[in-house]
Symmetry: none
Subunit: 214 residues, 4 copies
Amino acid sequence: MTKGRQTKERIFSVATKEFAQYGYAGARVARIATKAGVNKERIYAYFGSKEGMFVKVWKHTYGLIIEADESFLALGDEDIPRLGEIVLRRYMTFHEEHEEFWKILAWENLQNGKHAHLIRGLKGPVHDHLKQLYYRGQERGFYAESVSFETFIFVLISVSFFFASNRATMSETLQRDYLDAHVRRSFIDECSQMLFPWLAGVKREVTPPVQAER
Amino acid sequence: MTKGRQTKERIFSVATKEFAQYGYAGARVARIATKAGVNKERIYAYFGSKEGMFVKVWKHTYGLIIEADESFLALGDEDIPRLGEIVLRRYMTFHEEHEEFWKILAWENLQNGKHAHLIRGLKGPVHDHLKQLYYRGQERGFYAESVSFETFIFVLISVSFFFASNRATMSETLQRDYLDAHVRRSFIDECSQMLFPWLAGVKREVTPPVQAER
Amino acid sequence: MTKGRQTKERIFSVATKEFAQYGYAGARVARIATKAGVNKERIYAYFGSKEGMFVKVWKHTYGLIIEADESFLALGDEDIPRLGEIVLRRYMTFHEEHEEFWKILAWENLQNGKHAHLIRGLKGPVHDHLKQLYYRGQERGFYAESVSFETFIFVLISVSFFFASNRATMSETLQRDYLDAHVRRSFIDECSQMLFPWLAGVKREVTPPVQAER
Amino acid sequence: MTKGRQTKERIFSVATKEFAQYGYAGARVARIATKAGVNKERIYAYFGSKEGMFVKVWKHTYGLIIEADESFLALGDEDIPRLGEIVLRRYMTFHEEHEEFWKILAWENLQNGKHAHLIRGLKGPVHDHLKQLYYRGQERGFYAESVSFETFIFVLISVSFFFASNRATMSETLQRDYLDAHVRRSFIDECSQMLFPWLAGVKREVTPPVQAER
DNA sequence: AATGAATGAGCATTCATTCAT
DNA sequence: TATGAATGAATGCTCATTCAT
């Protein structure tokens, strides 16, 4: 029992990397078996089929961000001014910790989201909490009334995801090595200041520039 | 001769859609041949191999954004306040007009950018021009001194690309139908206000960016 | 011990059905194990191999007809006029009671009778007895001198076996539902009259063969 | 075109033998390919799938007996006394000429007639003609009134089919070599006399014994 | 320029059988 | 006696690519 469990988990771990690297169509069951040090048949015994395996990998991978999101439930009113920055940094860190995440998601998107329905509503509770904080942030003048919570979070997810997925190409395009840790840190800092300018030098005063401009 | 040219272009057009839809590994030479109404062997006569065909498709696809970027050369100092908005709207429109673009790029990214070197420096001239305008925008106080041009453009590209590529999944996550034209328009408006808040109050005085883009 | 015996018999019974339904090539050891509620390895412990199991099933199945044949030893001179009819009805009943018999035999025949040698001469004693009765029947004018006992019994076996094995197809061909009990009964009656016409007019005088069989 | 046709027919012919010998489950696509001297893929190009190939073989095989049956349309009133014998001999000959016929049909029966619906009503016209002759034969006293045409033909088909399919096993059981041409001929003769006794010595008189008995 | 025929190398999946416990 | 874990050898089927005409 324990031995089987171990084998199954070894296969799972190898499969995650395989699917991330090659995608569903490009992934090879034989390669997964070899890398996991097992016979192909074991894979079918444990996962039923290649697609069954992919679904399990995909669900688990998506579960990782749900888990990461849960840390946001600890945020309170005192975090409102930095809310956007916190979320951005959390997501940037998440992608750094789970390199395969964006790949699994991207492959899935390219396949026209065959399994997208599996994640419906999973983020609900966390988003509700963030939304409340964001609303209070709008009342207190930090976030523009005309910008919905959905757009706010969409932009943060966009930047972090795109950074993870396209930094190689962007390094070529912009002639900056975004794979370098230092460059990466600067990028995050600059982003925060671009999106939430009041954080910059006026940290103590907390005068939201949105209002100051008017 | 002309007939051969036509045949080749028909194949090319079909191949672009095929690679966009299925990716390199999932694309089928036989399917391309059938859809293009030719014999498989023609494809090999014209493109040498499946990979040769992909490279040509990829290069051409990347050329499209270079072309689109060229419209930015027409921008002048009077566009500086709306610079970010103009670029964002241009990219959003571009993705709408070329649905296959993000897919071809994404497939390529997932394959660890085997052909990324082919595009080195292609964007140079346009970026130089935009950079000059951005610098002047920083001097005039529109853009934060602490935010580099690279970060500025990175964020704009991120949002437009991610919107195109992940709007299906994000529709599920955020319970908003981003495939709907109206929702899409609101998203762009809100993004502009989130990223460039000073545009909000001055809407009436300046030419609306949608028109400026024309 | 008793438990093992039970297990073995459960496997055997399931295997018989499996081989009957799917044949040797189509039978699945795993399916037999599941249906018998045992581990596959048990099957190998008890039967050695898939083929070993088939041989046992085949031998046992063939034994059933030998057993059934033994009832013919009770026939005497008074049964001579109805001899053919009695045998026919007995075989028809046998096939009804042992649905899997013809299938197991047919699978075996199709495999070019790999195990046919196992049954050599098994029917000897019973056939000898029937043959004596048939000879006396010939002398008494019931059965044609020119028709050997072998042909006589061959025809009876043919009809009963073919009815069991091909009634589904024949139902389509002849547009008659031979799976229906009533149609089946008529068929047997008509057969008797076709093969042994003298029985027709004398029905009232002799004991009806259905009862004689008891 | 012609070359492809040849190849396809070579595959078809090999496949017929393969399916006859091993049945659907036991047949091997690779073996068919090797024996036909082609690449496996050709089989899929021409027949789509293993099952597609089986269906084509099965339909063609069943078509053979339909074709053979057509010779019965030439029978007229003068053939009525010998009708049963003619049909029996025709079927015996058919099985001798098409050794694979009974096997293909038997495999199909064992698979519970998955494709039986394909042959519905195919025999209609020929049977209608035979039925008319049989009716007139009943009127003229050759065939018993109480025996339906369906039973009559069923018995003839049974004997010929069973002889073809079980003569190997029956040779063991009855200790007679039914594969020997001479034994086979005797069997047919004896059968005719058993089923249609008036044919025997009284050929010229044509007094049906059925009536003589009463 | 164009096509139908042909192939080799794979690929997902299955299955009888064995092993360790 | 019994089981879960493991394997090697298929097996049906696919696909990029080449060849002959």
